[in-house]
Amino acid sequence: MSDSEILFGIYCPPHPQPLLSPEASDGYGKLRDAFETCRKRIEESEADLILVYSTTWPSIIGHQIQGHPEPEWVHVDDDFHYLGSMPYKFKIDTEFAEKFRESAESRGLQSRTVAYDGFPIDTGSIVALKLLNPDNRIPACIVSSNMYANRAETIVLGKSARDAIAAQGKKAVVVVVSSLSNRMFTEHIDPAEDRIHSAKDDEWNKKILEFFGNGRLEDLSQLSREIHGQIRVQKVVAYKPAWWMSAAMGQHNNYTGEVLAYEALHGSGGAVVVLTPSKGSVGDKEFDEDDVEHYHGDRGVLDTGAL
């Protein structure tokens, strides 16, 4: 496909504290400030699309893309309901949603747009869009994270996002909503005493942020399985956001990376990072796996294992 214009990428956490209780701790406040910085960057850019990949929107039937022109509801988080409600009304670029679906399908993925009144948009997408684009100045789109998808499928999904952005000549900001380490405390805590759950999680988070800071996004993508094994609670099959983000942004290490904040969110690692495409690469890929262009479904290991 031709070159996509992605102005920059943002990696940010899904937890609601920066939106609902930024005053409750210094850390939440710093994350809120970092979101604010990103909001201004978007405002000052020529972006005409914000594309969100959210790890808190799981799907099963392929890849779901929000296609309602003005989704509106009052959302409440499953765990943090006591922090308050999140009323939202977003402006979705439905033409882009359709194009994205088409691009995903043309690369072999099962995909559909969803456009239903009252569809439950997830906490992570709401936090990101409310803080990054509060007046809906720029149309947005949101894509789910399929529960069963692994590397090939996720990378192909990232490439199809890139295809769709190029095909429509968009100037896009790509937003990935995900924690770093995602183990939270299993008890209620005083927010003022929030900290990263363990020293190991903290060390790994800092290692990831070092890569982000050096703009080494594709290297992070290559390290995704290792990150998943080390600091991700095993509730889904893989740490997919790095795969998707790198594939969507062009699979290289040529970015200026800025870590705007790194703080604990009920024990998990929350970071706001900006990656802006630049000239010149930092570092080589750590190791290489298949670079899949078209998704042909799961490999039938039971059928072909005897060969």
Binding site: I61, D78, D79, Y82, F119, P120, M184, H188
Partner: protein, 301 residues
């Protein structure tokens, strides 16, 4: 005050497909039918429930997932629309439910006293999950009994299915104590499928039953193993193999529902009533009930 008691325990799977196929007026989507084996089983169990005297339904749901303790619905009324995030094409249900807040608070209190991290949910904007709605609608389409919904703390994600089993058992024992102290007659509902691998594609007509089958034979064999043990009244054995079953079939028992219900009911040694087994988008779904009273216990299927 007489001691409260559990009058029936129900394993009630919640694929939204069964509500969709029933075409209740509350659901916006329209179906040409489908999944009759499950629906007719549910209809039969709903008729049995009509013959039982009870005050409230207490349901443990995998689709209110909490990581910071176990949460309980804590307001008397919830009225809104529940849209399934995974199958929004099938399930957009307008609900109006009543909660037995007194019973929920009692459970929260007793669970807290036994060392379980708990929280009452008192945000009026909170949306009721489709697991609660599907199971409760199929068991009581008149919606004439108050509910208590209990969230599922995801111990299997954070630790292991073994830890889930321990914690869900502790919660079950605490809930049964709370029910006794409440003086109420309660129906317990464990809302989930057994084996839980889904197809990731859907046929153009979701209710096209020519396309419906279990994801693979291994899932089926495991599901049948559990059904046999249930028929034989070996519920302690079912719970003992739960970690293995859950891992092998990525079962929805991972949320802890069946373990919670069986612990609350003292691991029945009498046969379960079997109402139906059918796959929904590849997952294995069983409807079963445990009736503590021998005189009313039936061999259904």
């Amino acid at each position: 005050m007489a001691k409260g008691e559990i009058v029936l325990g129900c394993l009630a799977p919640h694929p939204p497909h069964v509500v969709y196929a029933e075409n209740p007026e509350q659901n916006e989507a329209f179906a040409e039918g489908g999944w009759e084996t499950l629906r007719w089983g549910y209809n039969r169990l709903a008729r049995k429930l009509k013959s039982i005297d009870y005050d409230a339904m207490v349901i443990f749901t995998p689709h209110w997932q909490t990581y910071i303790g176990t949460h309980f619905l804590g307001l008397p009324k919830f009225k809104s629309k529940s849209v399934d995030p995974v199958f929004p094409n099938l399930f957009r249900f307008n609900y109006d439910i009543s909660v037995d807040v007194e019973l929920a608070e009692k459970m929260c209190e007793v669970a807290g006293e036994s060392g379980i991290v708990t929280k009452m949910m008192r945000n009026p904007d909170f949306r009721i999950d489709y697991g609660t709605i599907t199971s409760c609608h199929m068991l009581n389409p008149e919606w004439d009994k108050p509910l208590v919904t209990i969230s599922s703390n995801r111990n299997a994600h954070y630790y292991s299915p073994e830890v889930m089993n321990e914690q869900a058992s502790a919660l079950g024992i605490a809930c049964s104590k709370a029910i006794e102290e409440s003086g109420k007659k309660v129906v317990l509902i464990s809302s989930h499928s057994l084996s839980h691998r889904h197809f990731v594609t859907e046929s153009p007509l979701p209710e096209d039953m020519s396309r419906e089958h279990i994801y693979n034979h291994s899932q089926y064999v495991w599901d049948m193993k559990l059904v046999d043990l249930m028929r034989d009244g070996k519920m302690k054995e079912v719970i003992d193999i739960m970690p293995e079953f859950t891992e092998q079939t990525i079962a929805e028992t991972e949320a802890g529902g069946l373990t919670w219900m069986m612990a609350a009911m003292g691991y029945p040694e009498y046969p379960a009533e079997i109402y139906g087994y059918q796959s929904v988008i590849g997952t294995g779904n069983l409807i079963a009930a445990w009736d503590p009273i021998e005189a009313t216990r039936e061999i259904v299927l």
